[in-house]
């Protein structure tokens, strides 16, 4: 479903990812581990269509992302990709509900508000829908962020250190929600993390070092 073929990303004076080839199947949970600076997040960015590789190709359901225009890539990310970040990246000018609703509105859903409430219900955050992210705990923010990632029914979810800012209980809840997305809905989940607690939930663990898969 997602295939990276000899993918390399180079910056001036730095080669962040070097000749990586991998394939992730539908409904699979893949955990990418490795020390800081090993190129995990750069690889995740390329797989998600946020970054174009210097060499090689990333294909998503057969389509090569590098051949898409910026506009096509934006539409692709909106409909096919969900993101979960260590620092949540919720817009604090909006309420929890509106953070989810916005993604649905951008995709053109007429009943975005109702759909946002359903998603918040699913992640156990319905009761905080009207609150600003500024007053939410880390665990609550991550639930809202996962609800936002699930909006528009993405084929894949990319998570960068999703438990990095959470305590044990909140971290376990976040992992549970991502696992559900894969097992119950058949979504592909690619996680970059240092957190050993995620490993038992992954179908495959990839180890990165110095920009390459070990």
């Amino acid at each position: 479903m997602i295939a990276a073929e000899h993918v390399t990303k180079e910056y001036p004076f730095v080669r962040a990812v070097h000749d990586v080839t991998l394939r992730v199947e539908r409904g699979e949970i893949v955990l990418i581990i490795g020390p800081n600076g090993s190129g995990k997040t750069t690889l995740l960015s390329m797989l998600a269509g946020l970054l174009r590789p210097t060499r090689g190709a990333v294909r998503f359901e057969g389509k090569e992302l590098a051949r898409m225009t910026d506009r096509e890539l934006a539409a692709f990310r909106l409909r096919s990709i969900g993101f979960v970040y260590q620092t949540f990246r919720l817009l604090d000018a909006l309420s929890a509900r509106e953070n989810v609703q916005l993604v649905l509105e951008l995709a053109g859903h007429d009943d975005a508000r109702r759909m946002a409430d359903e998603l918040l219900e699913r992640v156990g955050a319905r009761d905080i829908a009207d609150r600003s992210p500024r007053v939410l705990s880390g665990g609550e923010k991550q639930r809202v962020a996962i609800a936002r990632a699930l909006a528009n029914g993405p084929a894949a979810i990319f998570a960068d250190e999703p438990t990095g800012s959470l305590d044990s209980a909140a971290g376990a809840a976040a992992i549970g929600l991502l696992r559900d997305a894969a097992r119950r809905d058949g979504r592909t989940v690619v996680i970059v993390s240092h957190d050993a607690r995620i490993a038992p939930h992954a179908d495959r663990i990839l180890d990165m070092a110095d920009g390459a898969l070990a």
Binding site: A74, A75, I81, F83, R89, E98, V103
Partner: protein
Amino acid sequence: MIPVARRMLLRNRTASLVTVAAVAAIVGLQLFLFAVHEGVREGSTSYVRNAGVDIWIAQKNSDNILKSSSYLRTAVAEDVATVPGVAIASPLVRVITKADIGGRHSTTLFLFGFDRLGAPPGSPVLQPRELVLDRSFARKYRLGVGAHLDIQGKRFRIAGLSDGTNALVSQFAFARQEDGEALLGLPGIASFILVKVRDVRERAAVAARIRRQQPDLAVYEAPAFIRAHEEEMDSGVLPVFAALAAFGAAVCVLLVGLTLYSAVLARRQDYATLKAIGARQSYLLRVVLGQALWATAAGTILGSLIAVGLTPLLVRLVPALTLRYTPRLLAILPACLMVGALAAAAPVMLLRRIDPEEVFRT
């Protein structure tokens, strides 16, 4: 739809409020300046417009009563009166002179000495050494009907007050023609000859006949004479006000632009997040443009309210001031929206450079 632009603007509350207040101050000042111009324009032309004169005759190359000199023989009125279609031809003397008010103040007046035509609307029948004085001038010096002022050592009694005779830097007074002539010091000389025609539909034909009779003089039908006054006022004042308005608009653009640029910079991660989740560039441009328009629209509304609200106080503090808020001033609204759109340029350029991949940078 979620009002993202407004929410993001309000999230940056202090900066937004300062920006709106500054835009309001600039818009208020510009409205005030243009209201002054409208007031002066009206005050300068109101008398010409309402004097009940159909044709104005002046010395060649003199086309207004404010900023050009004109000297004619009073006897011209008698000649013009013989032109077919003329009902009345009457001299008007203009004297720009100092008036002494109770020995306390000495100030300049535009004094018009009229005979059968040229009385300001509502004027009483004047006796020798009586005058009608502009109301704002009278208010400024706390003068009323029955009070006196001295002009060239001659004492005049105020017999009435006139409206629409205030040209900001100079106010009008009206006296009998012989008093005006005496003050001018040139017996048998007038500044203008005023003509009333028998049938206003024949005005153009009568004017043509007068031109044939008086080929060395300038003959204006009333609308052309009024237009000449408006153009004279506009050419003198408007370029200055337009320059001030342009300067104010530039300050608004910089102010709103700087605030938004800082806001985009401060919330760079939010915009990167929006790009990452799939918001199109055009959507983000609308969000930033929306914030610019919100800030300028709020500032414009607030500035307009302040300007109109302060008007009674300003007129009270400066009696010579005549402020007129005319429909022409509504042109400031689209101008402000253009300012808002221009102000979005710099933040939009910054926005285009934000990479969605920045969401992964802490």
